[in-house]
C-alpha cells in the first residue's frame, strides 16, 4: 500500500511537472522575442523582467503548494488510512485458494513384553490419517478423514455438516464416528493413551467403534442452568457391533451431554448414551448399549499452558442378543491425567470389563502413561500396561510406545 502511495505521488509530481513546464517555455519564448528590437525602451525591459519574476514566483509557489499537499497525503496515508491487509504472499493464486485444509497425521505404535492375548505388533505404522476440510458453500462444510493402515485404506469419516439449519439442528450426513460416550467418538490420535480401554474393545466396537454411514442431528436444549445438548443418530447398521439384516433395520445412537462451569478453571461434563440395533447373530437379535460418562477438568487460566488435571470415568452396559438368549455385560474405565510441565503429561487408567457375548469372562487392567509433547504438532508417548485376561493364567505386562506427528493445517486443540 505504501508503495502504491509512492507511485501515486510520483504520478502527481510528473503530471504537475507537465502542467508547469509549457508556460515556462512560453515565457522563455517571450524573452527571446522581446530582446531583438533595439528600440525597446529600458522600462519595457524592466517591466518584462518584473513579469518574468512574478511568473517564476507564481510557479514556485504552486509547486511548493503541490509538494506540501503530497507530503500531507503521504503522511495521512501512513497515519490514518490503515494499511490494507496484505494478502499472504504465499497464498496460491486463483481457484487454488479454495483447496481444502489438508493435514497428514502419522501414528506409529510399538509394543514390547509378553501378551498371551495377542496384543499389538512390535513395531507398527498403525495408521496415517489424511484430512481434507473446507467450507462447501454458505450452508455447509465438509470433513474427510482417510486412514491408511498396514492392511487397509478406509474412509474413517466423511461427512457434510450443516451448522446453521433453522431450529438450531446441527446436522451431519455421511460416514462418521458415533456419539456414544467420550472415547468412541475420538480418533486414535486424539486419545490420551496409546490403546483404547478394554471396555471399548469388549463392548463398544474397539478401534472403529460404531462408526457407520448415517445421519446425525444435535440440538442445544435451552434452559437457564447449564449447557445441555441432545444428539440423535441413525445409522445403516454396519459396524463392529451392529449388522442390519434388512434395509428397515437401522441402528440408533442417542447422547445427552450436560456441561457446567464450576468457576473459570474447573468444569464438569456429564453424558448419557444409548445405542440400539440388530447385531446379526440371527435376524431378530439386537444389541442395546447404555453408557454414562463423567469428566472433571481443572485448568487455571493464568498457567493454562503448563498444568491441568482431568478425571474421567465411563461405564457401559451391554445387552447383546444371542441365539440362546441375551447376555448382559458391564465394563468401564477410570482415568486420571495431570500435566506437570509445559511438555509433560502423566496419566493413570484402570480398566475393568466383561465380554459382551461371554460375560462370565472379565478382563481387568491398569496403565501408567507418560506423554512428552515437543510442540503442538508432535508427541512421544509411553504406556506401561498390565492386563489380566480372564482366559489366560498370567497377566500381560507390556510397554507400549507411540510417535504421533502432524503436518499441514493447524487442527483444533482437544478439549
Amino acid at each position: 500500500m505504501r508503495r502504491c502511495f509512492r507511485s501515486v505521488s510520483a504520478f502527481v509530481l510528473a503530471s504537475s511537472g507537465l502542467v508547469a513546464v509549457p508556460p515556462l517555455a512560453v515565457g522563455a519564448d517571450e524573452v527571446v522575442q522581446a530582446s531583438p528590437p533595439p528600440s525597446a525602451a529600458a522600462d519595457d525591459l524592466s517591466q518584462l523582467k518584473r513579469d518574468l519574476e512574478t511568473l517564476r514566483q507564481d510557479y514556485a509557489d504552486r509547486v511548493a503548494a503541490i509538494e506540501s499537499r503530497i507530503a500531507a497525503l503521504e503522511g495521512h496515508a501512513t497515519e490514518a488510512a490503515a494499511p490494507a491487509p496484505t494478502a499472504a504472499p504465499s497464498a496460491a493464486a486463483g481457484s487454488k485458494v479454495f483447496n481444502p485444509d489438508m493435514a497428514a497425521i502419522g501414528n506409529f505404535v510399538g509394543a514390547a513384553g509378553k501378551s498371551p492375548g495377542g496384543g499389538e505388533p512390535s513395531l507398527n505404522m498403525q495408521e496415517a490419517e489424511l484430512s481434507f476440510q473446507a467450507v462447501v458453500d454458505p450452508y455447509a462444510r465438509a470433513d474427510f478423514f482417510v486412514t491408511l493402515g498396514p492392511e487397509e485404506v478406509a474412509l474413517e469419516e466423511g461427512y457434510i455438516t450443516f451448522p446453521t439449519l433453522p431450529g438450531g439442528f446441527l446436522t451431519k450426513v455421511g460416514k462418521m464416528r458415533d456419539a456414544f460416550g467420550k472415547v468412541n467418538g475420538q480418533h486414535p490420535h486424539t486419545l490420551p493413551f496409546v490403546d483404547r480401554p478394554l471396555v471399548s474393545k469388549n463392548l463398544t466396537g474397539g478401534e472403529d467403534g460404531l462408526a457407520d454411514a448415517g445421519i446425525s442431528v444435535a440440538r442445544l436444549i435451552p434452559n437457564p442452568w447449564l449447557f445441555l445438548e441432545a444428539t440423535g443418530q441413525a445409522y445403516q447398521g454396519s459396524s463392529a457391533i451392529f449388522t442390519a439384516p434388512t434395509r428397515g433395520d437401522l441402528a440408533y445412537v442417542g447422547h445427552l451431554r450436560a456441561y457446567q462451569d464450576l468457576g473459570e478453571s474447573t468444569n464438569i461434563d456429564l453424558g448419557g448414551s444409548i445405542a440400539y440395533g440388530h447385531n446379526g447373530v440371527t435376524d431378530d437379535t439386537t444389541t442395546r448399549l447404555l453408557g454414562v460418562d463423567a469428566t472433571l477438568r481443572w485448568k487455571p487460566l493464568r498457567r493454562s499452558i503448563y498444568t491441568h488435571f482431568l478425571a474421567r470415568g465411563e461405564v457401559t452396559w451391554s445387552r447383546a442378543g444371542q441365539a440362546d438368549g441375551a447376555q448382559n455385560a458391564v465394563g468401564g474405565y477410570g482415568y486420571l491425567e495431570y500435566q506437570f510441565g509445559r511438555r509433560w503429561t502423566s496419566g493413570l487408567r484402570y480398566d475393568n470389563s466383561q465380554r459382551a457375548e461371554a460375560p462370565w469372562l472379565r478382563d481387568t487392567g491398569g496403565s501408567f502413561i507418560l506423554t512428552f509433547k515437543p510442540s503442538e504438532f508432535s508427541l512421544v508417548r509411553a504406556q506401561y500396561r498390565r492386563t489380566s485376561f480372564a482366559d489366560t493364567d498370567s497377566p500381560a505386562n507390556e510397554l507400549l510406545f507411540q510417535f504421533l506427528f502432524a503436518i499441514g493445517a493447524h487442527g483444533a486443540h482437544p478439549f
Binding site: 497515519e79 490503515a82 494499511p83 491487509p85 496484505t86 499472504a88 504472499p89 504465499s90 467450507v135 454458505p138 462444510r141 455438516t161 451448522p163 446453521t164 439449519l165 438450531g168 439442528f169 446441527l170 442445544l220 449447557f227 445438548e229 451431554r257 456441561y259 457446567q260 462451569d261 473459570e264 468444569n267 461434563d269 485448568k299 487460566l301 493464568r302 498457567r303 493454562s304 499452558i305 503448563y306 509445559r342 511438555r343 510442540s375 503442538e376 504438532f377 503436518i407 493447524h410 487442527g411 483444533a412 486443540h413 478439549f415
Partner: protein, 305 residues
C-alpha cells in the same frame, strides 16, 4: 424535495424509540473494551478469553457455545490467533449471524496495520509461526483506533438508527486516545531505541510505536519453550548489548526469565498485553498507562539506556 422531507419525517416518526442493544461477543478483552468504548449502552459486550490467559490456548468450553449462540456480532483478532479454539465454537453455536464471512463476523485485523507478515518459504521449523502476520497488533494505539472505527462502522451497519450515537462515541474515544498518545509519547521520548528482550513475539506493534528495539526472545522459536542453549546465547547477547529490560507476558513461567535476569542484571517486567491482565487495567487506555508506567519504572531502576 418537499416530498423527500415528508418521507424523512415519516421514517423518523415511525422509528421505535427504545432499541435493543446489539449483543456482541469478542475473542479477547481488548476487543471487548474497544466495542464498549464505541458501543456504549447500545452494545452488550462479553469476551471469551480473559486478559490474563494466553490467547493462543483458550479452551473451547461448551459454555462459550451458549454465549455465541445468542450473539449478533462476533469480533475476532484474526491472523489465526484463535485457530485452535474458535472455529469449533463458531460451528457449534449454530448461529448463522456469526459464521465466518457472515455480516455478524468482524475480523478486526482487516483494517489494522499488521507487522511480521512472513515472506519466502514458511515451515514449522520456525515454530508456530502465524502465516498471516503477527496477531498481537492491538498493542499499537493507532491500531486500537482503527479497530474502534471498524467496530463503530459495523455496529452502525447493524443498528443504523444508532449510527450517530456510535459515531459520536467513536469521535470521543478518538479524542481521548489522541490525548493519551501525547502523554505516552512524552513518557517514552527519552527512551527511543532502548534495547529490550521479550518472552514471546507479542510486542512488535508496541515496540514499533514506542520506539523500543527488541534484540531477542526467550522462546527460541514462537511457541517453543526456552531451551538451555538458546538461553545461554541470549544471555551472551544481552550482556554484549547491555540489555536491562526483559518483558514477559503474565501467562508464561518466570523461572527462565528470572535466571536470565540474575545472569545479566536485567529487570524482569511482567507486562500484561491485554485489558484485564491486571485488576487496574480496566480499559484500552489504562492498558497502555499501566504497561508504560511499569516499563519506565523498570528502566529508571536499572538505569538502562
Amino acid at each position: 424535495m418537499r416530498l423527500l422531507s415528508i418521507v424523512a419525517l415519516a421514517v423518523l416518526a415511525t422509528a421505535p424509540p427504545a432499541r435493543a442493544a446489539v449483543n456482541v461477543m469478542t475473542a479477547t478483552e481488548d476487543l471487548a473494551d474497544l466495542t464498549r468504548q464505541v458501543g456504549g449502552d447500545r452494545a452488550k459486550v462479553e469476551s471469551i478469553a480473559r486478559g490474563y490467559q494466553d490467547p493462543h490456548f483458550v479452551e473451547a468450553k461448551p459454555s462459550f457455545i451458549l454465549k455465541l449462540a445468542k450473539a449478533d456480532l462476533l469480533v475476532v483478532v484474526g491472523r489465526e490467533l484463535e485457530i485452535g479454539w474458535l472455529p469449533s465454537l463458531i460451528q457449534q453455536s449454530r448461529n448463522a449471524k456469526v459464521q465466518v464471512g457472515a455480516d455478524g463476523y468482524l475480523d478486526a485485523s482487516l483494517t489494522a496495520k499488521i507487522l511480521e507478515i512472513p515472506t519466502g518459504q514458511l515451515t514449522r521449523a520456525m515454530g508456530d509461526v502465524h502465516p498471516l502476520g503477527n496477531p498481537h497488533y492491538w498493542l499499537d494505539p493507532g491500531n486500537g483506533r482503527r479497530i474502534a472505527k471498524a467496530i463503530a462502522d459495523k455496529l452502525s451497519q447493524m443498528a443504523p438508527a444508532d449510527a450517530a450515537y456510535f459515531a459520536s462515541r467513536y469521535a470521543d474515544f478518538d479524542k481521548r486516545l489522541a490525548e493519551a498518545e501525547k502523554r505516552w509519547d512524552a513518557t517514552m521520548a527519552p527512551y527511543k531505541g532502548l534495547k529490550v528482550v521479550t518472552y514471546h513475539r507479542s510486542w512488535p506493534n508496541f515496540v514499533d510505536r514506542f520506539g523500543l528495539d527488541v534484540i531477542g526472545y526467550v522462546e527460541p522459536r514462537p511457541g517453543i519453550p526456552p531451551s538451555p542453549g538458546h538461553t545461554i546465547d541470549l544471555i551472551g547477547e544481552m550482556k554484549r548489548q547491555n540489555v536491562k529490560i526483559l518483558i514477559v507476558e503474565p501467562y508464561f513461567d518466570l523461572k527462565t526469565p528470572q535466571s536470565i535476569g540474575r545472569e545479566t542484571g536485567a529487570k524482569v517486567v511482567v507486562l500484561p498485553p491485554s485489558v484485564g491482565g491486571e485488576k487496574e487495567i480496566t480499559d484500552y487506555i489504562s492498558l497502555f498507562d499501566y504497561d508504560l508506567n511499569l516499563l519506565v519504572a523498570a528502566i529508571k531502576e536499572t538505569g538502562a539506556k
